[in-house]
Amino acid sequence: MSLQGRGLRVSTMRWLAAAATIGLSFAVGAVASAEDAKTQYFPLSTFRVGAYASSGIPVWAGVIDYFRYINEVEGGINGVKLVWDECETNWEVEKGVECYERVKAGKNGSPVPIFLPHGDPISKALTEKSAADKIPLVTIAYGRTEAIDGRVFPYSFPVVFSFWSEASSAVNFIAEKVGGKEKLKGLKIATVYHDSPYGKETQVPLAHLAKTYGFEDIQIPVPHPGNDQSAQWAKIRQLKPDWVFLRGWGVMTPVAIKTAAKVGFPVDHIIGGIWSGSEEDVRPAGSVAKGYLAITPFPAGSNFEIHQKLKTYILDKGLSDLKDPKSFGSVYYNSGVDEAIISVEAIRTAQAHFGVRPINGEEAQWGLEHLDLSEKRLAEIGATGLEQPLKLSAKDHEGGGAGKVLQWDGEKWNIVSDGWVRSDRELLLPLIYERAAAYAKEKGIKAREATN
């Protein structure tokens, strides 16, 4: 009994403590200090634990390092310094939504300009919420492809490289290899995809392209998580495709590469998609990955001009968020830098229009829709070659739509495509607009007029 009693008292106290802390955190949440903030709040939703932590960690490093560079070297965006805090999502939808809700109100009076969901499912779950809250989602190389149509999706920005462009560019690279699009006729291109909404996104465009260019489009799903693919690759061995387009996620990619080797499929005829094209994807596959190709909007490499700046001002000063310097200039790190550049430039554009101060989501949305990353601007930033020139508008939330193809030499990635491999956007945009219109119809959204 006495023991029971103690257990009881302890737990009573715990619950009191809990209640107190909840109350406290609530109060903290509510009391956004009224004094007008001089800094730009920029919350980051991260996944540092769980199945995908290994891919996530270098991404934030890229983002945070660039932010630090902006703060330390350029003294902020036109003097407005960036402040950020992290919220762990485990790459799970619920947690992502929870994080979004937690941060969307801003911090100490500084509003949220842009939210980077970092996760295809999360971005899809947030599409409507963010529109309602007027906070733009920037989903670089993931997220809803239809959201390219900003008239229907004003607050979703699949900037740079949508999944449709990914597929199309991959096909065009193959064309480049075989010597012209007319040579595509009669080729067999098998897409081995992660069987999830993300994985299925490229089915429509590939079917369309297959019709257009007359290659055979084979779709082979791999169930999540994809740690056993003997069946899928046995099928590949049977169908004998000329090329394999690998759209994996997490552990699926290394297993695919290893299994390909197991059935003797030439690894240099496998083109990994954006999320199958990082060091973290190929290293575990070991030596057999040598020669593996991947298409990406964030070419790897640490000799872009911006990297020199980051190195001197951030890494060498020990300010970097990167724990293992090996990842400096890795695909994921560069993707982070990319994200940061676009966010910062969008804010800059907005500031030019609304005045130099912390700006809110609505203003950032304007900034994004008027974002113009010209060659010239990219050169000033030092991102020439790292980031493709792009110009966004209400009708086009993607802009770029081109990728570079990398090849793994067992140690590092090398760029093997000549420059940026463009996608057939003009061919696909009509389809995209159709789907967007259908979505608008289902949701009863009235598409707004394109302002620019």
Partner: protein
Amino acid sequence: MSSVSSNAIGDFVSPRAANRPPHTILGAGLALAALGTLAAVPLMANDYWLNAVLIPFLIMSLTGLGLNLLMGYAGQASLGTGGFMSVGAYATYNLLLRLPELPLPVSLLLGGVIAGLVGLIAGLLSLRIKGFYLVASTLATQFFLEWLFNQYGWFSNYSTSSSISAPRLAILGHDLSSPTGRYLLTLATVAVVTVIAVRLVRSQTGLTWMAIRDMDTAAEVIGIPIASGKLKAFFVSSLIIGIAGALWAFAYLGTVDARSFNLDRSFQVMFIIILGGMGSIVGNYLGAAFMILLPILLDHIAAGLFGGSIDPGQLENLQKAFFGGLIIWFLIKEPNGLAALAARLGSRLSASLRR
């Protein structure tokens, strides 16, 4: 020790919690008070609290309630919870989409009923398979349903992402898409279902379930309809879980795909009822509070204590380990769940009041 018996699950229920809680009137009073407070919340709480804390908490309590009827009362353990939630969500979505003239509550209920029927079919296994083998076999349902909704576009009206998002939520023209609206919708549903569930467990049906749980062989011999009892349990349980799933999709997340209802969800719900207390209605709320609020709380505390000082990744791992440890600690310290703890607290309280 290696033999597996369905009673293993039943054994878990604390005697008192089983039926007719000690001070029913007091309990009812407390429940009313709690309901009142919760209803008043929107006046003070901000969106974050409604959207990210209270709504999921309520919905998870409801899910727990559903599973508890099956597992805590009828002694049939299941890990198909996530699957049944998804059935509820997708069914309700399609009803709202294809029969827009139906009012929201009706679609919710029908969605639940459809989930209940699916649960009933899955429950057929329980007529032959017992204990842990049953638990394991419910995984078949879980994975099949997850696959089904991910696989066939029809369920998600052929959306690119095969994810479904809430059509306009409204009752009699009142728009419920605001956080407060969604919160009140959830609260109302949870309240109504809870009342019905309480009625049910105190009725013949509840008695049948508990008889099956405690001693199925004897129950059969004295003429208690085992099979129909089990199937009813599966039906009602899945019905409630289905409604919860629909709320999860439309009142909480707004957009879901089948993976929002994966195995982890099933485990989460099982945690809720085991930590909360099997065979207890209150337990579901306590358990849900533990599973939903505590991680958020840990997050806030961690941020408050070492914000910045430690690497956030490490912090997250630390939290995870700590949470796991806490669960084990609770299972050891309070095997009958928070409900038993609360009951003890209550009796102590009344005792001290009398003094």
